[in-house]
Point group: C2
Chain length 463, copies 2
């Protein structure tokens, strides 16, 4: 009988979900993958085997009859092997089947200094071995969910007819004027203008570049990297991160919030459905309120509250004895994470859109409200995290936008952007989701360094 080449994923799928005839075909199989653990009591040995195709391990059972027995008993954590074996159903056990090994070949041995061992390693330690941690349980789960969540984003927007736009990463503007950009130069000269004829830097946002596409395709989105050269050494900041930036024409702030709510719920639901093993792992090992919290979000209507009302509530809280680290609450202030979390965790106990912020603390392109003091912005605040999404209706009125940009001094540099308001402009809105933060939120992982394949944070770049 010839062995069927297969994978952990396919085996679980056929044996758990397959038809009877399908199951019966899978008798002798060939698998290739890695040893997670190997124990041998002298007469019988057990290998937890994983080939990376699903979160669950397959149990390999072997004894002296197996061809390559000496190889089998000597296998160490991390070794790459090929095994041929018989599928034995074990409905009474935890795993629905195991493999009785007939033959084993070593494909790649592990050196003595292989850093990933059976014991539990700290996340700090694992960060130091970015090239090996994808094999650790937590990172098998994190990176698979990262991939699935990326696909959720694409499917959400593509199903709704949005056009995916690759906005440029090398640019001449600094987006919101926040500074802290990375400059891009070439080796061959010290002249920063050499390659492009002018100074360029890495983008902080694709929004300005994607707006003209919304004014041509109506509904568009970006999904790509962005950069901030901030020395903030926190668990939530990385200097390189991925952003999702949808932009919708003929849509106001309320349409924008509807879309944000749909998008976040879609993503959560998609991941919970697609990655049950991974999500159970996070709920067990990382944060045991995770699934409850996510399900609560799925079943809540996101509240909406003007900033001004939020400030009143915070003032009231202080009056009633609540102590914030920053306790001087006043209209016009930029809210700190502690304030945002108070509103979402203590007041509305769920996701909250805070809207209509003072114009002074928001970006130049946000639409001025009729009160002349606030802009049509919306930040989505969620428990545990604070701000998850930031959005706004854009200022479509040429004169108002021009005045604002003249004050800021970017009207000449961004004349093309301003021109979009003279060329059949219309009301339009958009938002930005920090993809890595959304992943933190959905997995319960506490540090952005543990959600990215090779995190880029200030002072650190080993890989």
């Amino acid at each position: 009988m010839e062995a069927i080449k297969t994978t952990n994923f396919e085996l679980f799928d056929i044996i758990v979900n397959g038809e009877k005839e399908e199951k019966e075909k899978v008798k002798l199989v060939e698998l290739e993958g890695w040893v997670k653990t190997n124990r041998d009591n002298g007469s019988i040995g057990f290998i937890e085997f994983n080939d990376g195709t699903c979160f669950k391990n397959v149990q390999l059972v072997y004894n002296k009859e197996a061809k390559g027995y000496e190889v089998l008993t000597a296998l160490r954590t991390g070794a790459a092997i090929k095994v041929i074996g018989e599928v034995v159903l074990t409905p009474e056990m935890k795993q629905p089947f195991e493999i009785h090994v007939k033959e084993c070949e070593l494909e790649g041995d592990v050196a003595d200094d292989y850093p990933l061992q059976k014991k539990r390693h700290s996340f700090e330690f694992l960060r130091e071995i970015a090239h090996v941690r994808p094999r650790a349980n937590t990172f098998q789960a994190v990176y698979r969910v990262r991939s699935v969540l990326s696909m959720a984003i694409h499917e959400f927007f593509q199903e709704r007819g949005f056009i995916y736009v690759h906005t440029p990463l090398i640019t001449t503007n600094d987006g919101e004027g926040a500074g802290n950009v990375f400059d891009v130069t070439t080796h061959d000269t010290k002249d920063p203008n050499y390659f492009y004829g002018r100074k360029v830097n890495l983008t902080v946002t694709g929004q300005l570049h994607v707006e003209p596409f919304a004014l041509a395709f109506r509904d568009v989105y970006t999904f790509g990297p962005a950069f901030r050269a901030e020395h903030s050494n926190t668990a939530r900041h990385a200097s390189e991160f991925w952003m999702v930036e949808p932009e919708i024409a003929f849509a106001d702030l309320s349409d924008n919030m509807d879309l944000i709510e749909d998008c976040i719920k879609y993503c959560i639901n998609y991941v919970i459905k697609s990655c049950p093993d991974e999500m159970n792992f996070f709920n067990t090992m990382i944060d045991n309120t995770l699934l409850e919290r996510l399900n609560h979000v799925l079943n809540s209507e996101f509240k909406r509250m003007p900033y001004t009302e939020g400030i009143e509530i915070l003032k009231e809280a202080v009056k009633n004895g609540h102590k914030f680290d920053y306790n001087k609450i006043e209209w016009g202030m930029d809210l700190q994470s502690e304030h945002e979390r108070y509103l979402t965790e203590q007041v509305v106990k769920g996701p909250l859109f805070l809207t209509d912020y003072p114009k002074e603390i928001k970006a130049f392109y946000m639409r001025l409200n009729d009160d002349g003091k606030t802009v049509a912005a919306c930040d989505l605040l969620v428990p545990m995290i604070g701000e998850l999404v930031g959005g706004s209706q854009r200022e479509e009125r040429y004169d108002l936008l021009k005045k604002k940009m003249e004050e800021l001094g970017n009207d000449k540099e961004l004349e093309w952007y301003l021109d979009t308001r003279r060329y059949g402009g219309c009301r339009h809105s958009g938002f930005g989701i920090g993809f890595d933060r959304l992943l933190m939120y959905i997995t319960g992982m506490q540090n952005i360094r543990d959600t990215q394949p090779y995190p880029r944070t200030s002072g650190s770049i080993k890989y």
Copy 2:
């Protein structure tokens, strides 16, 4: 009766594909979008209207009865409008329906200097107005296909269980050692080591970073930007471009070529099925052999030929009087585009994998063949373009790889990469697709500047 808010896409979809009852519901509709043309013979006017949701325009018909008639007659190309009107089926006409306008509002007028007019503009001119060209027919088609092709890539790999990995863009290595990288620095100091503690540059490939993920998840892919600071001012080079880089473990060069062939055919088929109007447009306006050529690829088995045989054929061609610009054909040379195109266009008349190149002209990480002279590389050559995909089986043997890297001098810098060969390594392979070139190939567009939203080429960065 209340008007139903809808879009061009939805209207065509319901009227062409909908059930009778669905169609009958669509009587009075509200649309928002842009005027492409407006002509008025005094008693009756016609507007070609597009809202960006599909390639086809909707025809609006109006007369003096319409509310906002003065607005209607004055509408210019590019204006943003809202219209309410009656759907009238016109099965005898070219378009299956038209809209008889009841009301029209101007949402955004166009200034006199609006650069996009009814007449046909050159691609060179349109490149100068990157913020407006998404509204031009060709770019409506290009950017929609770009979005659809991106989704084809994701679906192809996700359906097969591949994990999508966001490899970093800021890195310390230069990939294949080709040089020509962009440096990344910060404003606040001239010290290039300031932010990360060492010199960093923009990535030229995600491959080295994604290999460790293949050695954990088996099948993985990247899809993101890459950069080359080359001053090659050609129609096929941009300094910023998107790359797809799959990497598969327990797979050799032949498995790799199988995957490349499946992937390219999947993408072509996906775009032809999803974008019939756009593909017909390209076939009519850009290249009238396009669909024939793509269909030929779908129905061909991709040929495979060793480099050594390719050289013999080229030599024979020269002997028989064929004149290449570079006519001195000898084993060991790097093929020029003209040679590649001769092999794929004249010899096999279809897609061709050229394999097993001399080790001297290929990257350090490619697996040395038993002959000691060639490496297990495969380049996919296609008619009209030349090289579309480059791939290889990777050198998994630690000692051989180490020696190669020591010669190149990157063994210390990339010690972590080398270590993956000591930590349960295995045979593995992968390839890179230049996404923008694939898009050129599928649309027939001749210049990479006309496939990217905001192209970044040497000496040019207006937007």
